[in-house]
Subunit: 232 residues, 2 copies
């Protein structure tokens, strides 16, 4: 898609594009802040001190990502809190609708919910200028959660095989809720949506490519569920 | 007190002293991990995105302190989780007994509870070798919480003066609970207590000096309550 990607100059010359990037960084930044809060809460629920340590370390890394996004928003002349505010409700409803009832549910949520979110942002990154893309890709990197969570969830299912059915249902619910919040955000934020569908002077992607993107997201989600030992 | 302080060599030659230092680093490390969890939970309750950012940043700094203590425990050949485990119950009871019912109570607790804790550890630091002392003092430094919390609490009391009475009672309860947990730890952990009262080959401090230390702790506590605009 890089032939379609705007140049970093467009941030200065194309106000609609700049608004789209501010939206993208805003939604990502609030997502990182809210990931910080959620992983820190998982640390409180963690059974052992070593697990607490591991999760607190991950939460801290999410906050570092948040800081990179916040500082970039400032650099673009945007107010970080204002840029994040439009996305607060979607994240809060997502977290309310998917409040884990125990530590394992928290782990599955972090893995499959954040996983599909990060995949989505990585897809979007192909449609933005290279400076923005580098930042988006760097905050979407895996912080080592994956290995830790896969280990813990598989061990728990081995110990209590009945947990597998419950957690599989839970994983589906988390992703369903994430998708419905994403659709709401797309419907409410025109600027952000134009990154995919194009603007007045910018070509968008075609429907067939959007279809392929959704297929990739679904495939990766199924792969994550399998990695946990869960039916997708 | 530095004439009484052991040399760093004592960590290798005096097993009782080494056990005392491992206890000290363990209690401090679990305290930082638990401060991380609590400040991160305060971030979730924070009314504005900027407040969330500020608190998440502080929680992250507590985790950095935790890492310094954990790594030093490893360097001394101690297992960090094992060294922290004896203190987990005291911290958990403290936090259960002082679960804030709103954001303001969380802020007052962080300020006066952590404040008296850090003061106490700074006092203890005069009785340990210089390497340990430097580490203890560095993790007891103010991370900028103080200014932030004082601003927020004073503003809230100005808006609703009745909050002052409730928060003053709350501050006293927090410190009372902290002291009773500290007494329990002192009673249970002989090695740790010998830092103050001395060991077979090490002089301790005298009762008069312990009295002066308690007076300093109380004075500083009253000063913090006044800074918040609360009666001690």
């Amino acid at each position: 898609m890089t032939d379609q990607a705007p140049s970093p100059l467009a941030l200065e010359t194309d106000p609609q594009y700049r608004a789209a990037v501010v939206d993208l960084l805003g939604v990502l930044a609030y997502g990182e802040l809210s990931a910080f809060e959620r992983i820190a809460a998982d640390a409180s629920l963690a059974p052992t001190i070593d697990d607490k340590d591991a999760l607190a370390g991950m939460a801290t890394a999410e906050y570092r990502h948040f800081v990179a996004l916040r500082d970039r928003l400032r650099q673009l002349g945007a107010d970080p809190a204002e840029s994040m505010a439009p996305f607060r409700r979607a994240y809060e409803e997502y977290h309310e609708q998917t409040a884990p009832s125990d530590w394992l549910e928290g782990m599955v949520k972090a893995y499959v919910g954040d996983g599909i979110g990060m995949d989505f942002y990585r897809e979007i990154a192909t449609y933005v200028d290279e400076d923005t893309r580098a930042l988006v890709l760097s905050v979407c990197e895996d912080l080592g959660q994956s290995g830790f969570i896969v280990d813990r969830v598989r061990a728990a299912i081995q110990e209590d095989p009945r947990a597998g059915g419950r957690l599989a249902l839970w994983g589906r619910r988390v992703v369903g809720e994430a998708l419905s919040q994403a659709q709401r955000v797309a419907a409410e934020r025109d600027a952000l949506s134009t990154l995919l569908v194009g603007g007045v002077d910018r070509p968008g992607t075609d429907l067939a490519e959007i279809g392929r993107m959704l297929a990739r997201l679904t495939d990766n989600h199924s792969r994550r569920m399998s990695a946990l030992g869960l039916a997708a």
